[in-house]
């Protein structure tokens, strides 16, 4: 056994470090340390810097303008960016570069690649994801948004939800039902849809922490070209699942770094509040340390697998459970440490967060309370813990499925709006 990175990865690490120290502003302490109004501007400018230095579409092959990095190099890059508290791109890049770009590279036509990839990379197009619907959450294949061909164009009607960064996007990839007479997984098509048209309306969803990180997208006779299909017509489920595979990417290997930074903050909080001598708090802090170490060890395992050519698989369901339940546990410990301070929490806010505050955020009671609130979503989005346990039970352990009540033509399912 050997946990050292390959020499070329360490070479790359040095290059990344050099890049970061050259390009980040002097005294850089993370996005969280920037005044809130300067953040978006910095992020835009920083994205341009990344693009110029081939640090943006790190997972794409070079022929499409990407950095052509191996997974280990992607991990090294993610590690170094995380340690430096530097963003790896815009939020839309998660969808445009990480998901759609990789999907087009693998499943798109040459024409689609030529047409979309450069614009995604340049930032000319900002993408978001149109998967979930109000009635199709855990049961994603239950989508009801319809698309019908009309005069050489798809006409799309329906409602998408939980669309991250949708308000910043100008394009959306949409799962739409194109054949309601087929079984539910078989009549879905993956469509590329421009958003600057009257039939597309975006409304923000405010989350329970008070921030708008998600959107609803209403599609009313929205249109896109007949050829804007990735994969085959009615075979969009396959494309959709392939895309989600890219979502897994490198996170299992970098969870530990991000949560370690958070745990350092928590240790500091406990020390500041003078509670480290309490046996219960000590026990829980040591438990948190253990969980973050487990993430690190599992990350090393994942990296080892990827170095031997195995793509991330269903074991990512385990990673999801581990980090999302840990996120609730360590923020609940923060609440315990804060005690009554949590009731009227003071100090710097987070500005809205999906998982954890930006690097450089003050170790404030308010940042902890917001992180605590945000942690409730972790066991819901990107496949709830219940869905993950089904995957673990059925795919990894081979346990039998529940009796199915949703086979047969989609049209005939007696579905009910929730």
């Amino acid at each position: 056994m050997d946990v050292d990175y390959p020499p070329q990865a360490e070479d790359f690490r040095r290059r990344v470090r050099a890049f970061l120290s050259e390009q980040l502003p002097a005294g850089w302490a993370g996005m969280g340390a920037l005044p809130e109004k300067e953040r978006e501007q910095f992020r835009e400018q920083w994205r341009r810097t990344l693009a110029e230095h081939q640090m943006l579409a790190v997972s794409w092959p070079k022929e499409y303008g990407g950095a052509g990095l191996s997974l280990v190099e992607q991990v090294v890059l993610a590690e170094e960016f995380a340690l430096a508290g530097a963003p790896q791109g815009s939020e839309n890049d998660t969808f445009g570069i990480g998901m759609l770009g990789n999907t087009l590279i693998h499943l798109g036509t040459e024409e689609q690649k030529q047409r979309y990839l450069p614009k995604i990379l340049s930032g000319e197009q900002r993408w978001c994801q149109g998967y979930s619907e109000p009635d199709a959450g855990s049961d994603l294949a239950g989508i009801r948004t319809s698309a019908v061909l009309d005069g050489g164009e798809w006409v799309i009607n329906g409602q998408k939800t939980w669309t991250s960064a949708g308000h910043l996007a100008d394009h959306i990839f949409v799962l739409a039902r194109t054949n309601p007479d087929a079984p539910k997984h078989r009549g879905i098509t993956f469509l590329l849809v421009p958003m600057d048209q009257p039939g597309v309306e975006v409304r923000p969803i405010r989350n329970m922490a008070g921030y708008s990180l998600f959107n609803e997208v209403f599609l009313t006779d929205a249109r896109t070209g007949a050829g804007e299909v990735v994969g085959a017509v009615d075979d969009g489920w396959r494309t959709a699942m392939a895309l989600l595979g890219f979502e897994r990417g490198v996170t299992a290997t970098t969870d530990a770094i991000r949560f370690r930074a958070e745990l350092d903050r928590l240790f500091a909080l406990a020390r500041e509040r003078g509670v480290t001598s309490d046996a219960r708090i000590r026990d829980r802090l040591a438990w948190c340390h253990s969980r973050v170490e487990v993430m690190r060890f599992r990350g090393l395992q994942a990296l080892t697998r990827s170095l031997s050519g195995q793509p991330p698989g269903p074991e990512s369901a385990i990673s999801k459970i581990i980090w999302s339940e840990y996120a609730q546990a360590y923020t609940e410990l923060a609440m315990e440490i804060l005690g009554a301070e949590a009731l009227a929490p003071t100090g710097q806010a987070t500005g809205g967060l999906l998982q954890m505050p930006e690097a450089g955020t003050e170790n404030s009671p308010l940042s902890w309370v917001e992180t605590f609130l945000a942690a409730r979503a972790g066991t819901i989005y990107a496949g709830s813990s219940q869905v993950q346990r089904n995957i673990i039970g059925e795919v990894l352990l081979g346990l039998p499925k529940e009796p199915r009540l949703d086979s047969g033509p989609f049209r005939e399912l007696t579905r009910k709006r929730g």
């Binding site: 989350n207 329970m208 804060l338 005690g339 009554a340 301070e341 009731l343 409730r376 399912l413 579905r415």
Partner: protein
């Protein structure tokens, strides 16, 4: 032997629940909570004059109805269930302090106004970085002749930014702890509503700078008041837990995925069952604590039982409520996590109530002390 509310009390609960559902649905709660005052003054007027809530437990001589503490516990449970934005709890606790620690003059002066709903009174015991306000008291009372002034900072004062009367704990020159009556318009008083975890209960910081005050009574051991507070919070949390479970169950019956109601999946069904198990235990504990508090209140004699039952009930109710509120969000899925959905209002209240006066772990530490462990 009748360890249950009696028929009159059940009727009272039902009519109160209908009243709150009718007059103060959660949409109205949000509006009231977001207002500057943090509650709906019209609703409070109806709660006071029409239902007589703030005076229920107060002596008839002071305009009250002379019930024991069981009726207030019912009010706490039902307002906890409805998340009613009102100064009821603040006034209740303050009035209990006046009854317990106040001179007869102070009682005669303060209680009629509280009973009528005209005086908003509140306890100001917590200080920054102290949980229950009893330990680590830094606010001082300075006496010059008959005049007393207070200097210090109180926080988490419920309705502190609008209260007419604040009962402020402070250490006097004799080293003893007393509660002092401070008028809302007193000199040297700075009151600031705080950004709170719990959106439906306004809390304020109160700064006192040589602020005139009148002692409520003699040097006092405030621990029994904290026990009463824990008892009433337990009732409130039981109400909130029940509301969460109702919300989760209703959604689980209605929401379909995979062509089945999600409540037919054991992953959801069994979690709802666990919520009910937690609720049922917490309700029994809160009911017993209310009973013990009522016995002490009506007899005028502290029994030893409330000392252990109050922290116990608070801890049990806290854990039931945070469990149920968290799982309600999970059962509701994505929408459970949105601002517009009400689950987070309960989730916030659950965690705020749990932290108030000490987390479950802190309560159990008190309990262990009192059990002689």
């Amino acid at each position: 032997m009748h360890f249950a509310y009696d028929t009159d009390q059940d009727d009272f609960r039902s009519s109160l629940r209908r009243f709150l559902a009718d007059k103060a649905p959660l949409s109205a709660v949000r509006t009231a909570a977001e207002s500057e005052r943090g509650y709906d003054a019209d609703l409070w007027k109806q709660m006071s004059t029409q239902l007589g809530l703030p005076g229920l437990h107060l002596p008839e001589e002071h305009g009250g109805s002379g019930t024991g503490l069981l009726e207030p516990a019912i009010v706490m449970e039902e307002t906890g269930r409805a998340l009613t934005a009102s100064p009821y709890a603040a006034c209740l606790l303050a009035s209990l302090a006046v009854l317990r620690y106040g001179t007869s003059e102070a009682q005669a002066e303060l209680l009629p106004g509280i009973a009528a709903g005209d005086t908003i009174a509140t306890l100001a015991m917590t200080e920054p970085a102290s949980a229950a306000g009893v330990a680590g008291l830094r606010t001082t009372a300075l006496s010059r002749g008959d005049d007393v002034t207070l200097t210090g900072v109180k926080t988490l004062v419920e309705h502190g930014h609008t209260a007419d009367v604040l009962l402020v704990s402070a250490t006097g020159g004799d080293g003893g702890t007393r509660l002092y009556v401070v008028r809302g318009d007193a000199a040297g008083l700075t009151r600031t509503r705080l950004q709170a975890l719990d959106l439906t209960r306004p809390v304020a910081e109160v700064r006192l700078d040589a602020t005139p005050a009148v002692p409520l009574g003699e040097v006092a051991d405030l621990a029994p008041l904290v026990d009463l507070w824990c008892t009433l919070l337990a009732a409130e949390m039981v109400g909130g837990t029940a509301a969460c479970l109702d919300m989760a169950v209703a959604y689980a019956k209605d929401r379909h995925q995979f062509n089945r109601p999600i409540g037919s999946f054991q992953a959801v069904k069994h979690r709802c069952a666990e919520m009910l198990v937690a609720l049922d235990g917490a309700r029994a504990a809160a009911q017993y604590a209310a009973f013990a508090a009522d016995q002490a209140f009506t007899s005028g004699q502290d029994g030893p039982e409330l000392e252990t039952v109050a922290p116990l009930a608070k801890a049990e109710a806290s854990e039931a409520y945070t469990f149920a509120a968290g799982w309600t969000i999970q059962v509701l899925g994505g929408i459970g996590f949105t601002w517009e959905q009400d689950a987070h209002l309960y989730f916030r209240r659950a965690w705020a109530d749990s932290a108030l006066l000490g987390t479950p772990a802190a309560q159990r530490a008190r309990l262990a002390d009192r059990l002689g462990l």
